[in-house]
């Protein structure tokens, strides 16, 4: 069942050339003549002299559900920020429906990785979602039936009606997460970028959210690009995976990337992909040789331990 164990610690990115070829092939099956919803071409992001992303290229068609994976610090958040046009100084070409990100804001919904709402913020969930419709507009807000319908639709989509009238800062992390997703959905985007949206959710909410996203891609042709460290709820939905390592990106089909070997190489940590009764599961492979455990356990060196506990 367990396909392969990999105890090897350090890693180089899996065969880029080959994966990119696969990606190109994978792009064709969609309606090939159609303009891609998102086209990233040779994107490079530097901060100071450090290169965070280099030569990233991929496309996303309407209705496609794409995972974005990579270890901590691989540049997932940086990539998503470049796609919404908030990352300073990206080089290369990003086009959303043929427009640069700064002119396609109405078409993109973005859920940031982390938002700290102050507990005393006088803002209800429904107000936050309303800001998702019209938060960028100038002047006072006049009542409009259309926008209030959009708000209640977005709230219903994430199952947030029960706490829609509560202060957002007083909700649990998962409830806040859903509120932010509703905020992103309120403007009915065509491209949805989600940064770790499942991180705070319980099983039920995570699976419901995954189902919702699947529904949005299938029924409404929204393209979804989502990062997640726990990909299990998404496995049945993902059409494709973009993976980042060492500042470079490659795409692959799910079958190709979701494998013990490639995931282990990607994360530099043994990961097992288990197939059981038609389902796939990704688990950290704790039975294999553990790479670095020894250095935390070393009892002999008192100074070292002191440094670690500090």
């Amino acid at each position: 069942m367990i396909q392969q164990r990999n105890g090897e610690r350090r890693v180089h990115m899996p065969k880029f050339e080959e994966s990119s070829k696969v990606a190109l092939a994978a792009d064709v099956p969609g309606p090939a003549t159609e303009q891609p919803l998102l086209a990233v071409d040779d994107l490079t992001v530097k901060i100071g002299t450090r290169v965070l992303l280099q030569g990233v290229s991929f496309t996303l068609s309407p209705g496609e559900f794409c995972g974005l994976i990579g270890e901590n610090g691989a540049g997932k958040t940086t990539l998503l920020r470049s796609l919404v046009g908030t990352q300073p100084s990206p080089h290369g070409c990003v086009k959303v429906c043929g427009f640069p990100p700064s002119r396609a804001r109405g078409m993109v919904g973005y859920v940031p990785q982390k938002i700290n709402f102050a507990p005393d913020l006088p803002l209800r969930v429904c107000d936050l979602v309303q800001l998702g419709c019209d938060g960028h507009r100038l002047g006072p807000r006049w009542f409009s039936r259309k926008s209030s319908e959009a708000v209640s639709r977005a709230l219903a989509a994430v199952g947030a009606e029960q706490f829609a009238k509560q202060r957002i800062g007083e909700l649990s992390g998962g409830q806040q997460q859903r509120a932010v997703i509703a905020h992103a959905l309120a403007r009915q985007p065509r491209l949805l970028l989600l940064d770790e949206p499942l991180a705070n959710l319980d099983f039920k909410s995570a699976n419901e959210l995954a189902r919702l996203l699947g529904h949005l891609t299938r029924e409404h042709g929204i393209a979804v690009l989502i990062t997640a460290h726990d990909m299990n709820p998404l496995l049945s939905l993902m059409d494709r995976v973009v993976y980042l390592a060492g500042g470079r990106a490659a795409c692959g089909s799910v079958e190709e990337v979701i494998q013990s070997e490639s995931l282990s190489r990607l994360y530099g940590y043994p990961v097992a992909v288990i197939k059981h009764s038609g389902r796939i599961m990704i688990v950290p492979d704790t039975e294999g040789p553990q790479p670095d455990e020894a250095c935390y356990m070393e009892p002999s060196n008192g100074r070292n331990r002191e440094r670690i506990t500090k």
Binding site: G85, R105, I115, H136, R137, L138
Partner: protein, 302 residues
């Protein structure tokens, strides 16, 4: 009740010229401070607001020397200080207090110099008290219209930027994905803050300006769940405090047999009492909500 109320508001009270000016100038200060104070508190700029008030005393005392309108003095220096704050990095969390402290120190130094000149070279002996603690009944009636115009400008700017401001207060990243420039929002907010503080300094004095700016806003934020309600509540509390203070100061002439107490004292006292009252109120209103919603969510979500 109503009859009592009317009889208390002696016709004299409303007909008196200084009272009229105090009500208008103080009222516009209260409204502008309440509206902008809510954003100031939510952005965590309460200290910066207080510092702008203190620093504007340099402008107030300079205006005595130069013989210009005190509003111009307060406003000019507060705006300069706001730009200095922006330049020194008030929006970076770490540097915020440092920037504010540096601007505050420099501004108060200037203020000390100008007040010294006021006292030594001119005959305005009361300048220090007027600049620092305000004297609403001594406002010249020619300042009425400039004050109202400044207030209207601040309110119009706020009305225009209301939604982007809220979004950038809620989360700068959400705002920037909407194409809102957090940098420019910050600059405009600081300039509006300077306007609010200048009006407050004119009415209750530069040292007490922060009471009018922070108190009503903070009290109202404690009690409300929506931004619009928070702003409305702050306006009501601010007007209550200023108009109530003016009325009490006017009446205190009769209460204390010919020795009326300063308006600023009453205004600040009312604000403080209202703020204290919000603590039990918050406790009472806060208890009601969580239980039913938690139960609903646990059972009804399926």
């Amino acid at each position: 009740m109503m009859g009592w109320f009317l009889s208390v508001l002696h016709c004299e009270f409303l007909r008196s010229g200084p009272v009229d000016t105090a009500l208008l100038v103080g009222g516009s200060a209260a409204v502008v401070c309440a509206v902008i104070g809510v954003f100031t508190v939510l952005r965590g700029h309460a200290f910066a607001g207080h510092a702008l008030g203190d620093v504007s005393s340099a402008g107030g005392s300079a205006s005595f020397l130069a013989g210009i309108s005190p509003l111009a003095g307060f406003l000019g220096i507060a705006a300069l200080a706001a730009l200095a704050l922006e330049f020194l990095g008030v929006r970076k969390v770490r540097e915020q207090d440092v920037a504010t402290g540096i601007v505050l120190g420099a501004g108060l130094g200037l203020s000390a110099l100008f007040l010294y000149f006021d006292i030594t070279t001119t005959s305005t002996t009361g300048a220090a008290v007027t600049v620092m603690f305000g004297s609403m009944f001594a406002l010249s009636s020619s300042i009425k219209w400039p004050a109202i115009i400044v207030a209207c400008l601040a309110l119009v700017a706020m009305g225009l930027l209301y939604r982007p401001l809220i979004l950038s207060v809620v989360d700068p990243e959400l705002a920037s994905t909407r194409g809102i420039s957090n940098h420019w929002i910050g600059v405009v907010h600081l300039l509006m803050l300077a306007m609010a503080v200048a009006l407050a300094a004119l009415s209750v004095g530069s040292v007490l300006a922060s009471a009018l700016l922070i108190g009503p806003a903070a009290a109202s934020i404690r009690l409300s769940r929506r931004p619009t309600v928070a702003i409305l509540g702050a306006v009501i509390i601010g007007l209550l405090a200023v108009w109530g203070g003016v009325w009490m100061a006017y009446e205190s002439y009769y209460w204390f047999s010919g020795n009326s107490w300063p308006v600023s004292f009453f205004v600040v006292a009312i604000i403080f009492i209202i703020y204290l009252l919000t603590i039990p109120l918050k406790y009472l209103t806060g208890r009601k909500t969580p239980v039913p919603v938690a139960v609903q969510h646990a059972t009804g979500a399926s």
